[in-house]
Symmetry: none
Subunit: 238 residues, 4 copies
Amino acid sequence: MASRSRDPARTREKLLTHATVEFARKGFDGARVDSIALRCKLSKNMLYYYFKSKEGLFVAVLERMYEKLRSQQKDLAVRASDPVSALEQLVQHTFNALLDNPEAIRLMNEENRHKGKHIRQSKRMRDLYNPLVETIRFILERGREDGVFRDGIDPAFVYLSLSSLCYHYLSNQYTLEVALGVDLGSEKARANWLVHITELMMLFCTSGAPAATLPVITAKPTRSPKRVAVKRSARQSA
Amino acid sequence: MASRSRDPARTREKLLTHATVEFARKGFDGARVDSIALRCKLSKNMLYYYFKSKEGLFVAVLERMYEKLRSQQKDLAVRASDPVSALEQLVQHTFNALLDNPEAIRLMNEENRHKGKHIRQSKRMRDLYNPLVETIRFILERGREDGVFRDGIDPAFVYLSLSSLCYHYLSNQYTLEVALGVDLGSEKARANWLVHITELMMLFCTSGAPAATLPVITAKPTRSPKRVAVKRSARQSA
Amino acid sequence: MASRSRDPARTREKLLTHATVEFARKGFDGARVDSIALRCKLSKNMLYYYFKSKEGLFVAVLERMYEKLRSQQKDLAVRASDPVSALEQLVQHTFNALLDNPEAIRLMNEENRHKGKHIRQSKRMRDLYNPLVETIRFILERGREDGVFRDGIDPAFVYLSLSSLCYHYLSNQYTLEVALGVDLGSEKARANWLVHITELMMLFCTSGAPAATLPVITAKPTRSPKRVAVKRSARQSA
Amino acid sequence: MASRSRDPARTREKLLTHATVEFARKGFDGARVDSIALRCKLSKNMLYYYFKSKEGLFVAVLERMYEKLRSQQKDLAVRASDPVSALEQLVQHTFNALLDNPEAIRLMNEENRHKGKHIRQSKRMRDLYNPLVETIRFILERGREDGVFRDGIDPAFVYLSLSSLCYHYLSNQYTLEVALGVDLGSEKARANWLVHITELMMLFCTSGAPAATLPVITAKPTRSPKRVAVKRSARQSA
DNA sequence: GATGAATGAGATTTCATTCAT
DNA sequence: CATGAATGAAATCTCATTCAT
């Protein structure tokens, strides 16, 4: 008897691990509390004991995922390299972090479907991403000083671009494959894509006039989906 | 009472319209058949009468969504313009199509979570996207002839990049806002972003050496999530 | 157009035929109105048009089945033969009629589960079975006159015995096979069984003292399931 | 409120008991899960908790029924008596067991409609019925030694005959009553019938030449419903 | 005489959550 | 800490039946 694990930390961890997979695979609504407990070889009650509810578990899963993901971007380490190399590494680490954590994409998609209601609370998020923005700012600064990057680049734009190019390819792999009739899942295809997006980011930082910047959040912004048009004159010509 | 509608085409359409909203908002598993029927003021069996199952309805919703989305990209019309302008318009239309059809993003995310199992069948998809790729190829060709675009650009890469930059910003708006502490939802922010991504695409097509290409799908590809690394030498320097 | 059958009699008949199969195979509750209509390549409404309800159809099916079954017992024809041969034929025809109409057994079982509520009404039943009892009485009479059958045999007992021995073997074939580990479905097994039950019936009519008789129905009888015991003295010894 | 029972064994048993009644009365398809749960004063999911599905419950009901039925045939006890008396008792106990368990007949009919698909699996069945066949063989053997029973009687035939005569009378009581215009449900009628079938069985075992035997099941037998005919010469004359 | 469209009630099954130990 | 038993609400899907043409 009494051979149950009796190691609260491990139990909690096990729940998180299996819940991550379940939530990623099935979505919040599709995920089954039973299924998670079963895979943990625990009774469902433990889940409620540690996380109070399915939603509580989901939030914990989200936070753990973000922490893991951020840690794999290794952005602090990147500062040591020269700007060009640092940017390259950042793209590379971001892409690989997403590749290594396929659950991350599904979880973020889910959270966006919920309009971010779970993580909006979490102060943790800001703490996790501030350093990243700072690192990008640092790289851009040094690149400008070295004369290799242009001036006036918004770090947020860099991250948004880089994130888009890494994320979408992996997130929408299946529909894109069907639409375009190409293979995106092979190692080779991925390597090519990584080369391509690295080039794109580099082009952006090295050439052209300064891009626009993003307004910092102040009050609750309006989200009217009015059409957006780019007037020719508004574009920054090279 | 209230004489029943007796207009099968309208009934079907009503179901599709409301189902689109429900599936987008709640995901496949979160969507409620009851809720859809209620909003249609129909008894829920009609849903089964027309679409056989919740999944059948989902597939129909997906297909209709893709058709609408593609129609709004207006890529054929774009061919009339000069290459630079055409590319600009393509980016613009794509961004606006996604903005106008917020359900589209959620539905595609859902379908990707299911690894594309629903649309993989549909031959319709290929027919919808072939013209788009052809249009891009056409634009690139003409741009090269005009000396404004560089040679050897893979149309698929163009679409993937463009799609990434339009889609991710909208799809992941909420988590990105929290992470970066910026506002992405305002009209102004969106306009700025559109300027930015248009510039990026333009930079890509006008400068630099030829990018890599994607392997066309032949047999079932392996999807091993092996890490991908970009060796410096592999990059195409400007 | 307008190539629909437009032959009411045929339509009705088609419905009855397929309904017979469906009710026999699935039972009353398991039978599906849709399924019957589909197999008839008719719309469900026809079923309601001709038979008013699922239950109405079931009753019609029951009656048609009894008529067919009785007609195949050919008992009137049997009167021409000598008593022994007539009895033999009766057993044989009864067994074969059930074999030829496997739906009959399932339908009767179903009706007995319903405590006969559908056919109790039908005066038709009495008319169908009276001749049978009369034929048996006739055979027994002649057999006694010929000195081959014993005196005082109740025709109802003869029919009940014969019916039991023909019916149960076929009705409970599957559970009996599992219980006894024998094969009852082969042609050979059936032939052997028919030999056996013919012998049994013959033994009964030719040997021993007169059996007991059954009380004719008068008022609603009590159906208390009190145990029944055969005291030794009550038995008729050989 | 009302403190929940917390006695799993009792809960399971309660479910089985009420399900037996419901399935017997309404058939598998007619039976209502709600109705069973209600009568057990349990929420219906308990049914799924214990038996996984309606069908799982049905199978459990079937097995329990067979066990109860077999236990009431008391065939082992019967071996103590002299052969004639033992046979008498076997008939009597079989008849009374069916009378005492009216659900048994309906459940077996249902199972036969399903072609025995549920119990064919169950190894339990063979174990339950082997002793019965052995008992019959034992009785026949001793009877032959005593010079009271004839030689070469197949125990399976004895059981099939006995079973037919006990079962059909009760199973088809209602349609037979309507057809024959007699009362079969009264205690008196049943007593008379029991006398009759006891006599029949006795006649069979004491007189006449050896009957045919049944082929033991080896491979999947063919079940062609070809007509069966008894040629006169094939019959064993007395 | 025949049909496709529509319905309301209800069927089986599922699921997050809680109780009692 | 941990569990098996229990629940109530609700989800998907089905079905006999009717309406309007």
